[in-house]
Amino acid sequence: MSSRRSRSRQQTGASRNITDEQIADLVSKLQQLIPEIRNRRSDTVSASKVLQETCNYIRSLHREVDDLSDRLSDLLATTDTDSAQAAIIRSLLSQ
C-alpha cells in the first residue's frame, strides 16, 4: 500500500503517518455498523455526520445497559432460584 503522502508529512515526535484515505476507509467501516445510517442508505454521508451518529448510538447503547441493569436488578429480587435458573437456561438456549 503506497504511503507516499504520509511519508512526506512525517515529523519528529508526533509522527503523522496517517493518510486521509485510511481515515475515510475506517469511517466507512464505522458507517456500516450504525443502524441510523445503514437504514437510511444514502451514500453521501459526511465523516462528521458518521462520528456524530456514532456518539449518539454509543450513548443510546449505554442508556439501554442502564435500563436493562435496573430491570434485571428488580427481576433478580423477585424471582426464586428455580425460576431464575430456568430463565437463564432458556436465554442461553435461544442464543
Partner: protein, 158 residues
C-alpha cells in the same frame, strides 16, 4: 458481509460474555445485599449499579487484552483496581490522566472525535485511526452485550 471467521469470533465472545455475566448475576443472588453490608468495598452500590459494572466487566473479560478499550475497562473496573482504590483512598484514575500523550491530529475530525474519545474507554490517548478502529469493535461488543441482557430480562419475565 461478515466473514465466517468473524462470526465464529463474535459467537464465542457472546457465549463467553453470557457465561461470565450470568455467573455474576447468580453470585449476586446469593449475596442478598443490604445497604450496610456493602461498606466492606468502601463504596455502597445498588444492585443495579453492580449489575451494570458486572456487564461491562464481563464483556471486557470476554474480549481480553487484545483491544485497547477492553484493557482500559479492565484496569478501571478490575478487582485489582478496586483494591487499589480502597488502599489509596482516592481514585486511581487521577494518576492515569496525568500522562502526557502526543496525539496525531487530523484536521476536520477534531470536533466530533473529542466527544467520541470520552465515550470509548481509553479513547483519550488514542490516535484517530486507533480511535476509529476501537470504536467499531466497541460498538459491536456493546450491541452484543445489550442483546444478551435483553434476552435474559425477557426470559425472566416469562
Amino acid at each position: 458481509m461478515i466473514s465466517k471467521g468473524a462470526t465464529r469470533n463474535s459467537n464465542s465472545r457472546r457465549i463467553k460474555f453470557a457465561r461470565r455475566f450470568v455467573s455474576a448475576l447468580l453470585h449476586m443472588r446469593n449475596q442478598n445485599p443490604r445497604p450496610g453490608s456493602l461498606s466492606i468495598e468502601g463504596s455502597v452500590r445498588t444492585r443495579s449499579q453492580r449489575i451494570k459494572i458486572a456487564a461491562y466487566l464481563s464483556m471486557a473479560q470476554a474480549v481480553g487484552s487484545r483491544r485497547a478499550w477492553s484493557r482500559a475497562v479492565l484496569s478501571k473496573l478490575g478487582s485489582r483496581a478496586r483494591r487499589h482504590m480502597r488502599r489509596m483512598g482516592r481514585s486511581s484514575l487521577g494518576s492515569l490522566k496525568k500522562k502526557r500523550v502526543i496525539r496525531s491530529y487530523s484536521p476536520g475530525e477534531l470536533g466530533q472525535a473529542k466527544k467520541l474519545r470520552q465515550l470509548v474507554p481509553g479513547g483519550e490517548t488514542m490516535d484517530i485511526c486507533s480511535l476509529l478502529e476501537e470504536t467499531a469493535h466497541y460498538i459491536t461488543c456493546l450491541a452484543t452485550q445489550v442483546k444478551v441482557m435483553q434476552t435474559l430480562a425477557d426470559n425472566f419475565s416469562k
